[in-house]
Subunit: 217 residues, 2 copies
DNA sequence: CAATAGTGCAAACGAATGTTCTGAATACAA
DNA sequence: TTGTATTCAGAACATTCGTTTGCACTATTG
């Protein structure tokens, strides 16, 4: 159980300060910025704790470069810069999602992307996006052209809006998910619409919808 | 006509490099980074051009701090960090928008905020947000709890979705805007609904909706 | 107790980096 | 042309800043 030894208060304070400083100033702090802010009497103490934080995977340090502290997000990726999410395909009524069927597609590269709030990626980690084609999702108040941000995963809690793949129908849909015994109720967001009931093994969850974005103008 | 003297190629190159470097590395370049990337033979030349770029309003420099170059966006604001937009109030059917009626409210401070994609603010400049209460906007596919991002302004082009204030009714609404002679047609996004017609002087445009955000989970 | 790892402190070193000085080449207007 | 502002070059300077070294204190373990 070497997972999480308690983090010393000072180390947590340093980590918090780095994030705050970066949010306020747009650039990471120097060792001495941290020293003064955390009322540490020596830069070597800061250096020592930064070293420990690096070992623990909270940040990167570029050797010999000023302000070379780079915070890492939950995925261990640098969390600066425009937070782009790949739009891996389109989702439409009764259509397979291309990116899922042709799974062998090259690692990435030629996808469209959409910028999202950095906070989203910090909170959920890796994300992808689907562009909605057609008005088939209108019952979920999702229009043609909207983009849904998805956290990939095979599991969902009751009430989550999920990307569901109906195996026998070969159809993808966005619905609210409820597990009821050994069958699944897929409920349109518009409660006046009738839900769909499926046996659990006919439904594959591909991810949870965490945000819907509609660009205008 | 002192508006835009042509920018020397080298200066443009420097500006482009700063942005690119910042996107790639998360921190601004040093003077010497710029020097080498742009194949300039002296740091003083870089310093000179940065000075000129600062005068022209493209960037800020924090004196004596490493990597103290701060790019400015179209509004002259630093363009780093989490791009938060103030949620200045709620919009609901037949209700005034609190933030607009009590105009004397303190400069800001105690508003909620929502993070948006940095690219949005770079493109539109100053923005604010409204939280939608109730289902009165359901005809525009905007649900209770959705947040609309607004670019403030009194003007709109035909087809824009706007925040319209109906003076005599004392009512705020989100509709598509069409100017037809001396009257205004306010068209719900759902084309099956009937439009509202008003005399032009009964409609105040408070801003254009540039994005709708719905958070789930 | 001794041994060891973890943490904190002070001081100094040296590389990285912003700044300034002097001069010259270039462009442009009178 | 002449003069003036702009732009560039080279070098040196001053500060910032990452890094290292040596030592001390504490806590835990055997």
């Amino acid at each position: 159980m070497v997972f999480k030894k308690k983090m010393p208060a000072r180390r947590q304070q340093i980590l918090d300060f780095i994030r705050e400083f970066r949010n306020d100033n747009g650039i990471p702090p120097t060792v001495r910025d941290i020293q003064h802010a955390c009322e540490i009497s020596s830069t070597s103490v800061v250096d020592y704790n930064l070293h420990k934080l690096r070992e623990a995977g909270f940040l990167n340090r570029k050797p010999d470069v000023a302000r070379g502290i780079e915070l890492l997000d939950a995925m261990g990726q640098p969390d600066f810069g425009p937070h782009k999410v790949q739009i891996v395909g389109a989702i439409a009524a009764g259509q397979p999602i291309p990116a899922f069927s042709s799974e062998g597609s090259a690692s990435s590269a030629e996808f469209d992307t959409i910028e999202v709030a950095p906070e989203l990626q910090r909170r959920f980690g890796e994300l992808y996006a689907l562009s909605v084609k057609g008005t088939s999702m209108i019952d979920a108040l999702i229009d043609d052209g909207d983009v849904v941000i998805i956290k990939p995963g095979q599991e969902a809690n009751n009430g989550d809006m999920v990307v569901a793949w109906l195996v026998s129908q070969e159809e993808a849909t966005l619905k609210k998910f409820y597990l009821e015994g050994d069958r699944v109720r897929l409920q349109p967001a518009n409660s006046q619409m009738e839900p769909i009931y499926c046996s659990a093994d006919n439904v594959e969850i591909h991810g949870k919808v965490v945000e819907v974005i509609r660009k205008l103008g």
